[in-house]
């Protein structure tokens, strides 16, 4: 049995210790907002927060998440930075197919929580591991800046 703190709620799961957190979220807890893209920490679609730090859940064994504070896309809107990012994403009409968005938003939120006024280079540094096949990068950049400007207020 593993005890997981996800979005402020404790979940008990019983899976093999090597099971990546991604599949615990998706297949055991049916929290499907966190996406599977590559299974090798190469695309960022599975990004969650572990104690506030953007982390690839597809290669993170569930045991490594025990005792940590896990935040997913389903819970990120409860944070000030998360709310600002989601509002900015809507204002800039960022998503296209939408599949990579959970990971992008988690990465952007972790960035803003740490660095409230990121430069373009900061954004590149924090977001270059999150791939998007629809090519919405310039809107992501604009939305991160917008979220930074508006803080937790409605963007």
């Amino acid at each position: 049995m593993q005890k997981l703190d996800i979005n402020g709620k404790v979940h008990q799961v019983d899976v093999d210790p090597d099971t990546p957190l991604l599949w615990v979220l998706r297949d055991v807890l049916d929290m499907t907002g966190t996406k599977f893209g590559c299974g090798a920490a190469l695309c960022g679609a599975c990004t969650v927060h572990l104690d506030g730090v953007a982390t690839r859940s597809c290669t993170l064994p569930v045991t490594a998440a025990v005792g940590r504070r896990i935040t997913t896309i389903e819970g990120v809107g409860a944070t000030r930075a998360g709310r600002a990012v989601q509002a900015a994403w809507i204002a800039e009409d960022v998503p296209q197919c939408g599949y990579c968005q959970s990971g992008q938003i988690m990465a952007a939120t972790a960035l803003l929580a740490k660095n409230p006024k990121p430069s373009d280079a900061d954004i590149d540094g924090a977001m270059s591991g999150n791939l998007c096949r629809c090519g919405i990068y310039s809107r992501i950049r604009a939305a991160v800046h917008r979220a930074a400007e508006h803080g937790g207020e409605s963007a």
Partner: protein
């Protein structure tokens, strides 16, 4: 459902009361071959519905197109709501089931592709909106006993004389009792009357895409649903020789190992266990006889074929042989080579099948519902009307989810039938990149003879590559040995050349091929727009002026795009040191796009800073979506131009994940400035036309910067460039 719905052949709209009240409007096509929409009676069970107005006033557009990021939900809602005078806040989208009524007007298929969703719905959905509005207004006029001319609809409310008003919901039942108007009696708005069309309406499904609640195929969860990952043939053409199950079955959570046509399925309680079980499965494969497939060998074969004249001729104007033999002419020749490409949508392929003895439900993100249903029915041993395809959001399509062969649906149905349980088949990224159905590898030979004026007197283009349509249900489009997509963008060269020949060598190879965003244009635009640039350089003429001089009055749209592009890009104005511009212009899917790329070299590798893109796509239904699609097409095309290739050695694809198949990242993405040529013409394609020009625009900029021509993609193949 296949019975003709329209007895009159003239076509008309018919309304019926909805199952739970309200107005339900059907709309169908009397003839699949007819170009324009007409409307026909619908069955009263709402299966053929396009538009529903319920008693709460909610308008539902039954969505017959798949949303894969291109914004089709938003665009089609705009078409309907424009004429219906519906408040967008009260319009929702519901995905359509499979029915002939949802087929494309020109093809007997329910599918999303070819950048045709807006153009093929343009008249029909506006008519449906106008018909529903007319009936709601009539219902109000009757209720108030006033002339219908004194009533009008606005934002989901009908207003009458004396301040009378009633919401669409209050009128829906009465409207349903009225006869539907003849579409010919409906006057559709002129462009200057539009209030929604032409506006940058935000994506209707944006919220569910930022809070994690949107349901993609991979997010489907059914009670008792198992997961499966397949051990698939690792090399082309190999077959299962033997397998040992025990190690796989010993993995916790694995419940079974089942042999399928496509490979060996490891079925488990969760995806991780299925994947682990697959890795533990001891499978031996039997390699096919003969030399293993190799893309370098294929390339050599293509180069050799490209030297040979083909008797399969797509275009033959004048006498190209004589023109090219003119010893007084400046003669040019070049070979352009392009690799196989995977679509690599962010959401790996997947499908849920829930087989029962008397029905089958399939949940997946698909672009091809009707071929999927036919295939699923065949595999399930059920009649098609017992098969229900539930279209989920697509985590990218780009053509990969439009497989007439229904590969990812068939295997899931086969597995569910064998298990007797609902099951989700998940493709790993490696499965996705190794799984075939690639954009074809292509070689083009271009030859030109320039006259004394520097203009091409002769132009000869030979295309070498596999046919996508041959052997599919689109086989009928292959005429006289010419698959139209193999020569699209080449046979319709817009430049005035008196002696012009385009011929085709259609090859066979063991690799399965499929449409990849912009299809044949992704090849021909690179060849044609690079070569015209070579001609301009040989003629000593500015590349933009050169193109302008070759566009006659027959191509006013090309000319207008070029002029706007010259202006918006600042063509000819100074750039920072170490930067150069390149240009390309191409028509595809009914739209003309010109792009100027600004490129520099960083450590000898091209860096694209800015792309100015100009499109003529007729009436711009949603300028925001058009800009987004141009940005998207540029970045998708740039990933391929710079990095993308699937190569084979010893029958095995060499790229397995995003490390070997790199995709453009945020720090590499250019600023894309999108501009739309004002137009009152009916809308044409948007999702794909932005892609073809980007590779040649960048290649031409690299030439301007380095005097080196890039004639083979991806560009990283060329090694490091040095600035001239």
């Amino acid at each position: 459902m296949s019975a003709p719905l329209d007895a009159s052949r003239r076509g008309f709209l018919k309304a019926a009361a909805g199952v739970s009240g309200g107005l339900v409007l059907g709309l169908t096509l009397p003839s699949a071959a007819r170009r324009s929409w007409a409307a026909a009676p619908m069955a009263p069970d709402a299966i053929n519905a396009f538009v529903k107005v319920d008693r709460s006033g909610t308008v539902t557009l039954v969505m017959h197109k798949s949303e894969m990021g291109q914004g089709v939900y938003t665009g089609l809602v705009q078409l309907l709501a424009e004429e219906l005078e519906a408040d967008l806040e009260h319009v929702r989208v519901e995905t359509a089931p499979v029915a002939a009524v949802y087929n494309h007007p020109q093809f007997p298929l329910q599918f999303t592709g070819g950048s045709m969703s807006i153009s093929s719905s343009w008249t029909g959905l506006r008519q449906a909106g106008a018909a529903a509005r007319t009936m709601l207004v009539q219902a109000a006029a009757r209720r108030w006993n006033v002339p219908v001319e004194e009533c009008r609809a606005e934002r989901s409310v009908v207003h009458g004389p004396g301040g009378r008003h009633a919401g669409f919901g209050e009128l829906a039942d009465d409207a349903a009792a009225l006869p539907a108007p003849d579409p010919k009696s409906l006057r559709l708005k002129a462009p200057q009357e539009f209030t929604l069309i032409g506006k940058p309406i935000k994506r209707v499904e944006v919220r569910e895409k930022v809070d994690g609640s949107g349901r993609f195929g991979l997010d489907v969860r059914l009670p008792g649903m198992l997961r499966a990952v397949l051990a698939r043939p690792p090399t082309l053409g190999c077959s299962l020789k033997s397998m040992k199950q025990p190690a796989a079955l010993a993995v916790r959570g694995v419940v079974g190992v089942i042999e399928l046509d496509a490979g060996v399925a490891v079925v488990a309680q969760n995806t991780h266990a299925a994947r682990k079980g697959r890795d533990a499965l001891a499978v031996e494969w039997q390699a096919p006889a003969g030399a293993p497939f190799d893309t370098e060998a294929l390339r050599a074969q293509y180069r050799s074929l490209a030297e040979q004249e083909s008797q399969v001729v797509a275009r033959n104007d004048g006498d190209v042989r004589t023109a090219l033999a003119d010893s007084a002419a400046r003669r040019l020749e070049a070979l352009y080579e392009l690799p196989y490409l995977a679509h690599a949508p962010m959401e790996p392929l997947n499908c849920v099948a829930d087989w029962r003895a008397d029905r089958l439900d399939v949940y997946t993100g698909t672009q091809m519902q009707s071929p999927d249903r036919a295939a699923a029915a065949e595999v399930a041993g059920l009649p098609p009307e017992k098969v229900f395809i539930h279209t989920m959001l697509l985590g990218g399509g780009f053509g990969r989810r439009a497989n007439p062969g229904a590969d990812f649906v068939r295997e899931a149905v086969e597995l569910s039938r064998k298990l007797g349980k609902p099951v989700q088949v998940v493709w790993t990224r490696e499965d996705d990149l190794h799984g075939g159905w690639y954009r074809p590898q292509w070689t083009n030979r271009l030859r030109a003879a320039l006259g004394a004026d520097g203009k091409p007197a002769g132009w000869y283009h030979t295309v070498v590559g596999q046919s996508i349509m041959t052997g599919t249900l689109m086989q009928g489009m292959v005429q006289k040995g010419i698959d139209p997509v193999s020569v699209e963008g080449a046979a319709d060269l817009p430049y005035a050349v008196p002696n012009l020949r385009v011929d085709l060598h259609t090859t066979t190879a063991p690799v399965k091929v499929l449409w990849w965003r912009s299809v044949g244009h992704s090849n021909t635009a690179f060849a044609v727009e690079s070569f015209i640039d070579e001609c301009a350089a040989a003629a000593g003429t500015d590349p933009l002026d050169y193109r302008r001089s070759l566009l006659t009055d027959k191509h006013p749209r090309h000319r207008a795009v070029l002029e706007m592009l010259a202006q918006k890009s600042g063509w000819g104005t100074p750039l920072p040191a170490g930067r150069a511009r390149g240009l390309a212009l191409h028509e595809s899917f009914g739209s003309v796009v010109g792009e100027v790329a600004e490129v520099s070299m960083e450590n000898g590798l091209p860096r694209v800073h800015r792309v100015v893109a100009v499109i003529d796509c007729g009436i711009a239904v949603n300028p925001q979506m058009i800009a987004a699609q141009l940005e998207s097409a540029v970045n998708y095309g740039l990933s391929a131009a710079l990095y993308g290739e699937i190569t084979f050695a010893n029958g095995r694809a060499q790229q397995s994940n995003f490390d070997g198949y790199p995709v453009l990242r945020i720090h590499e993405a250019p600023v894309v400035e999108a501009h739309v040529v004002p137009s009152a013409a009916d809308p044409s394609g948007v999702g794909e036309p932005g892609l073809p020009p980007i590779a040649p625009a960048v290649a031409n900029a690299i030439f301007a910067l380095t005097r080196q021509r890039v004639r083979r993609l991806p560009m990283i193949r060329a090694g490091r460039f040095s600035v001239a």
